[in-house]
Structure formats: C-alpha cells, structure tokens
C-alpha cells in the first residue's frame, strides 16, 4: 500500500496511541526489549512517518525517499511499529520481535528489516551515519532530507560531538535531528549519572540551528519540522522535552522500565490505559 498520510493533530495523536500498543505488544511477546525509550520518541516518529517524510512502503529503497536513522537503536520497537503500520512488512512480524529466527532484531539492523536504513544499537553510531547520508545526498544534489533521533544518555558518547562538529562544518541543512530529552538513562537520572546540560547551548555552540519543544505536543512537533525546512546553511536540532514511558502511567519517568518487559498483568493494565 502507498504511504498513509495524516494531517490533523487529532489523527496523529490517535495513531500514536495505537502504535504505543504495538510497542508494548512486541516487548510483551518477546518478554524482552526497551519500552521506556520507545514510548518517549513515538510521537516524533508518528509526525515523521505520517506527516513529514516521503516513504515508500512497497519500495523501501526508492531514491525519492527521505531518510530516517534511529540513533538510539534500542528503542526500535517504536520504529518497527511505525514501519509495520505503514506496510513495510506484515504486522504479524511484530509478534516475532527478538525471538529466533526473526526479521525484527533486538537492535535495528538494515539487512534484516525493510525500511531500516542503517545498523544502530551501539550508542552514538546513528548520528554520524546520518551525517554520512546527508553528505551523500548533498554531493549528488538530491533533494531528500535526513531525519535522526538521538537519546540524552546517548549524547554522552564522544562520537556524538564529532558528528556535532561535522554537520555544521559541511553546512548540512538537509539534516534535522531530534534530541530525545527524557532525562533518564539505564543507571538513573542523566543529570546524576553524567550531566549533559546545558543541551541547547551546546548544539548552538557547535553551529546548529536549535529549537526547543515539548516532544509529545504534535502542534509543536509539526511547527518545528516546518521550521527545520527553512533553516539554510546549517543543520537543525530540535531539543524535545519528553517523558520516558509516556502514555503508560506506571512506566512514566521510571528508569526501571528502560529495558524490562511487562508481565501479563502490567501489559493488560497498560493496554487498558491506551484503549481508544
């Protein structure tokens, strides 16, 4: 099927709610995986896949596609939910997540899964690959854009800041990155584990055009994406304040739900909270 597009923020929000259920389905069936960080960026993902980007579910490698890189690759259940719903592969695959043999690996690998551009999961490796994609497109004068999501814990990796230098140096205005600022990583509060603040100032100092938004407010996400298209001569960074585990009350702001799967009782409770 062709790409589904959604215009209104109400439709986008309804889609995000449905896909949150698909995230939990995968992690529940596998009894393994990362619910917290998947739920924190899925609203951004819905805005990208249903409103912003051109993608071709029946022809994933179509050169006219915009590119997406999930740098925080552990949060791939959200990407798999998006790709399945867009028709890149059958929804039934979601139930095979992380179980041998499966097309949906624990961290996204491009040669397994249609619609996944590059391999991520080792923190810090997605953003520099996105920079490379943007360079490759630019040198060929291609009009397609590159989108990327990085985590706040992930941005402790030194290589993130190598990419942070390279993108403005090469004037990559075809690159738009979301910094998913949910405030948590595995061992707890980002601030306590290894402080990364002040985040927006860091990106500005490296030469990026920066906007700060609420990463769960579709009006703000869409406005920021429209703004990013107007940025010329430098890359765009959208610092998105988010809630880890967003949408499931008992997972919200809990580092403990970073990489733990819900048991049946919690799964059912979560589904009830996410019912239409």
């Amino acid at each position: 099927m062709p790409q589904q597009k959604l215009e209104s923020v109400e439709d986008l929000a309804a889609k995000a709610k449905a896909l949150r259920r698909d995230v939990l389905l995968q992690v529940y069936k596998a009894q393994s995986g990362h619910p917290g960080g998947s739920l924190s960026w899925i609203d951004i993902g819905v805005a990208l896949y249903y409103h912003e980007m051109a993608v071709f579910p029946e022809d994933p490698a179509n050169p006219a596609r915009d590119r997406f890189v999930l740098s925080k690759g552990h949060a791939c259940p959200a990407q798999y939910a998006l790709l399945a719903d867009q028709g890149f592969f059958p929804k039934a695959w979601l139930e095979t997540f992380r179980q041998y043999p499966t097309k949906l690996q624990g961290h996204a690998e491009n040669h397994y899964t249609p619609g996944v551009e590059v391999t991520t999961g080792s923190l810090g490796q997605g953003l520099p690959q996105a920079v490379g994609i943007a360079l490759g497109l630019k040198v060929q004068k291609a009009a397609q854009r590159v989108y990327c999501v990085i985590g706040d814990g992930e941005s402790q990796e030194g290589v993130i800041w190598e990419a942070a230098m390279a993108a403005p140096h090469h004037k990559l205005d075809n690159l738009c990155v979301f910094h998913d600022l949910n405030g948590l990583q595995i061992d707890g509060d980002v601030k306590k584990v290894m402080n990364i603040n002040p985040v927006p100032d860091k990106w500005r100092a490296f030469g990026w055009a920066v906007k700060e938004i609420d990463g769960h407010d579709f009006t703000q996400i869409l406005e920021a994406l429209a703004w990013a298209r107007t940025v010329k001569g430098q890359p765009a960074m959208i610092c998105a304040r988010t809630v880890k585990g967003k949408g499931v009350s008992f997972m919200e702001n809990q580092a403990g739900w970073h990489g733990v799967a819900p048991k049946t009782e919690d799964y059912e409770k979560a589904l009830a909270e996410l019912a239409d």
């Binding site: 596998a30 393994s32 990362h34 179980q99 041998y100 030194g158 990583q185 595995i186 584990v193 290894m194």
Partner: protein, 322 residues
C-alpha cells in the same frame, strides 16, 4: 537487557546455576572491605555488570562515566598511574570493541595496571542480538602484547579470577556473561592464572573449553562415553598466559583435539590451540564455535543450537576428527 533474568543455559535438575556477574560484584565489595586500593569505573551499565554492588558500598571509589566507554578506559589508565588499581566494566562489545584502541594504546602500550572486566560476552547475551553479542573479544584482547586474558566458567572461578587479576601486576581482561552458567567446580577448586585444569580423564579425544565451552565439553564427553569413546576434558580459563605445557602433554596422549567456546571458532581459544598444535605437535583438530558469522536475537539455548555450539556438535566434531 538490564533486569531480565533467565534460568540460564544448560540448566538441568541437580545442576547449580551460577551468575558470574553477581560473583564479580560481590568480589569487588569483598576487596573493598579488605582495604584493597581499588576504584571501579562503569559506563551506565552498573546495574547490569553488578558494579552497582560496589558503588553502593563504596560510593566515593566508584565512577559512573555515563555512556562513554572510550573515555572511561582512558581515564582508568590515567588513574592507574596514581597507585589505585582500576576495575573497568561495561558489556564486552563496548569494552573490547568500542574502546579497542584505547585499551590497546593507553592500557596496553602504556603497560598500565588496569583490570577490564566485561560482562554480556558471547551468544548467551540472547535477545539483544548481533550488535550486542561480542564474539571476538578473546581474539581482540589476546592480540594485545602484555594483556592477560581470562574466561572463567562459574561463580567460584570468577571470584578467584577477579582476586587473581587484582593481585597480578599489569593489564588483565576478564570475560563474563549475562546468563547463568552451570557450576563445574567443587568448593576446594583453586584457580591460578596460567593453569589449565583436567575436569575428566579419558583416552581417545581431548576436549578443550573455556567459559561455557567447558560445560558443553563435559556434556559432550557423556554423549561420547555412551558410544564407547573416552574423552578427556581440559578447562582453560586462561586464554593468554595460556598453559602450553598441559595442553601439549595431553594432546600428545590423544588421537584428536576439539575446542569449544561461545566465540568465533577462530581467534579465541580455538585460535590459541590451533596455533600451538600446528607449530609444536600437528594433529587432528576441530574447533566448535561461531563460524565467521554475526549473532542474532533469540534465547541463548536456541542460539547455541542454531550456531552449533552444543554437546552434540562437540561430539560430532570429535568423531569426525578420530
């Protein structure tokens, strides 16, 4: 990943299953209580590697560097020059892969007294998949001049290996795992760096293992015995500072050798044994391990089966070699 526990591979009625990483965390605390001048570094995986136990007991001697493995290894190398003995922990993929060149230069070339203890090595990482299953850490670490490389099999041996690493002057790499492994040693077992231990005497074929590989060899020896083939099982927890003498002495008394490890079949234990035998005593050899492939997601038991790292595979290799 973090927080998920499984029964462990090879779990059978009557077999005690050991967590190597819990043994590691407990031993760090013991060393701290004994006044050892250690500091511990982790990279946002303290809960998973169990350095969190030490962090709780000795918060001022614990440094969480965030998700920043390269800088963590370099910082540990620097710290070691001040007289403290740094233990550095994260997953094997990031300790030996991401930080490789820092381990080689700052720790290796620098001859620094740094102990790298990595958990979540091998196929038994399971569901996290190929990007997280480090199948080349033994090879990478073994190539660094002066690096001692250890791959213990159970909790008792891990505790002693950590103490031995602390007592040893110079860089040490210790390979630990996420999954629980069957206990193979009796309470009176004494681990020594550089010493291989005979686990089962036989006459026909020599099975050589490290880490989980030794449990697999022991199970394979049972399978072979049922067919009238008597296997000797040699456990080699030291991969570098390898016990050449014991291996060669036993190899000469058997008609074939089979190695087993949850690592690439080349480069690790299989590599050590192949290099040694081909120079000193050429003889039939088979290496059981991952055959030049990446790992993938699945339960540890399923992956070991899919990649042919099982007692059946070791037994078949032994018969093919004899």
């Amino acid at each position: 990943m973090a927080g998920m526990e499984t029964a462990g591979v090879g779990g059978k009625v009557g077999v005690v299953m050991d967590s190597l990483r819990d043994a590691y965390g407990d031993t760090l605390v013991e060393l701290g209580n004994e006044g050892a001048n250690i500091v511990v570094f982790d990279a946002d995986l303290a809960g998973s590697t169990r350095t969190s136990k030490f962090a709780k007991a000795f918060p001022d001697r614990f440094f969480n560097m965030g998700a920043a493995e390269q800088g963590m290894v370099a910082a540990a190398a620097g710290a070691s020059t001040t007289g403290v003995v740094p233990f550095v922990s994260t997953f094997a993929m990031f300790a030996t892969g991401r930080a490789y060149e820092f381990v080689r230069q700052a720790v290796g070339v620098g001859h620094q007294n740094v102990k790298i203890v990595a958990t979540h090595a091998g196929l038994t990482v399971g569901e996290d998949g190929g990007t997280h299953q480090c199948l080349e850490d033994l090879a990478l670490m073994r190539m660094i001049p002066g690096m001692t490389v250890l791959s213990p099999a159970d909790a008792l041996e891990t505790k002693q290996a950590i103490r031995a690493a602390y007592a040893h002057k110079g860089p040490v790499y210790v390979r630990l795992t996420r999954d629980k492994f069957p206990r193979i040693h009796a309470e009176d077992y004494r681990f020594q760096i550089g010493k291989a231990v005979m686990m089962r005497p036989g006459t026909d074929v020599l099975l050589v293992g490290c880490g989980l590989g030794t449990s697999i060899c022991l199970a394979a020896a049972d399978l072979l015995a049922a067919e009238g083939i008597e296997a000797t099982v040699l456990h080699c927890p030291t991969i570098k500072l390898f016990d050449r003498e014991t291996l060669l002495r036993l190899a000469k008394a058997h008609r074939a050798v089979v190695t087993c490890e949850e690592h690439q079949a080349h480069g690790g234990l299989g590599g050590v044994v192949a290099e040694l035998l081909s120079e000193a005593h050429p003889m039939p050899l088979r290496r059981v391990g991952v055959q030049d492939q990446f790992g993938q997601s699945g339960k540890p038991e399923k992956l070991l089966e899919a990649y042919g790292v099982t007692p059946q595979a070791v037994a078949a290799a032994a018969k093919a070699a004899l």
